[in-house]
């Protein structure tokens, strides 16, 4: 029973449904769309550490990483009116904005590539959402994880990944799909618990 309760809590956190305090994420985007800079600031407080973690994995240097995070939030400010909560979570919407900027900057050459678990603190120091995500990523088949790390963190096109690994573009695409579907299946399990 305790495990079920923990899983339920994790599922709530991992989908970002449970706000620590104040307005929920979607309401903050609505306020941002209406030109409320305080709401943008709250989104920043909530998500900038996550975006910065990804930015640091994708580009070299703190300055570059900060520029990426800033750009992503400026994009969010400009496009908040088009955000649709029925399609995508606020967290993923912001991550998409960051990756888009990062891929533009990287321009086909991998930035910083390192394993996802690099620098991970002991398990009990992790928050529930991150712990569940780490477990999902750790459960990826090695070939799928390899292409996802090159693609998601490295921002590399499939052809570039294929060249690096010495496999065909079709193989890279198939591994990308398999990896994403693997993660999706993990999410669906968590979602079923929530």
């Amino acid at each position: 029973l305790r495990a079920a309760a923990r899983a339920h809590h994790e599922a709530q956190v991992i989908f970002g449904r449970r706000a620590a305090s104040g307005d929920d994420d979607v309401r903050l985007v609505e306020r941002t769309a209406a030109g409320d800079r305080d709401a943008l600031g709250e989104l920043y407080d909530r998500f900038a550490p996550l975006l910065r973690a990804l930015a640091r994995r994708m580009v070299e240097g703190e300055r570059e990483a900060e520029a990426l995070v800033q750009d992503a939030f400026v994009d969010a400010w400009r496009s908040a009116g088009r955000y649709d909560p029925a399609v995508v979570s606020v967290r993923t919407w912001l991550l998409l904005a960051l990756r888009r900027r990062a891929v533009d900057r990287i321009g086909g050459s991998a930035g910083r590539l390192a394993g996802v678990a690099e620098g991970a603190p002991p398990g009990d120091a992790l928050d529930a959402g991150r712990a569940a995500a780490l477990r999902a990523v750790s459960s990826l088949p090695p070939e799928a994880r390899e292409v996802l790390e090159l693609g998601y963190y490295g921002g590399l096109p499939a052809a570039e990944i294929a060249g690096r690994l010495g496999v065909s573009v079709e193989t890279v695409r198939a591994r990308l799909v398999a990896g994403i579907e693997h993660l999706r299946a993990r999410l669906d399990v968590l979602e079923g618990l929530s």
Partner: protein, 75 residues
């Protein structure tokens, strides 16, 4: 016009790199195709676990103020 098959490109869009011209056509397609929009989001939510798994990095001092200053005046 040759049929555009965005499904093939969606995984690369959410978890890889994609050439600017391909992305422009993807964006155009996603803006008018609800089915692909939902599929794109489905894949993006899954790929986001790769970011959520990373250790969060605190914002540098002043970064929040710089953002709010940048959007002041309808940026």
């Amino acid at each position: 016009v040759t049929a555009f098959h965005p499904d093939e490109l969606l995984p690369q869009l959410v978890a890889g790199g994609i050439a600017a011209e391909d992305r422009a056509s993807m964006d155009e397609h996603l803006s008018r195709c609800p089915r692909c929009r939902m599929e794109h989001a489905r894949l993006a939510e899954a790929a986001a676990l790769l970011a959520v798994a990373l250790e969060p990095v605190p914002s540098p001092r002043g970064a929040r103020d710089r953002l709010l200053a940048a959007v002041r005046g309808g940026a």
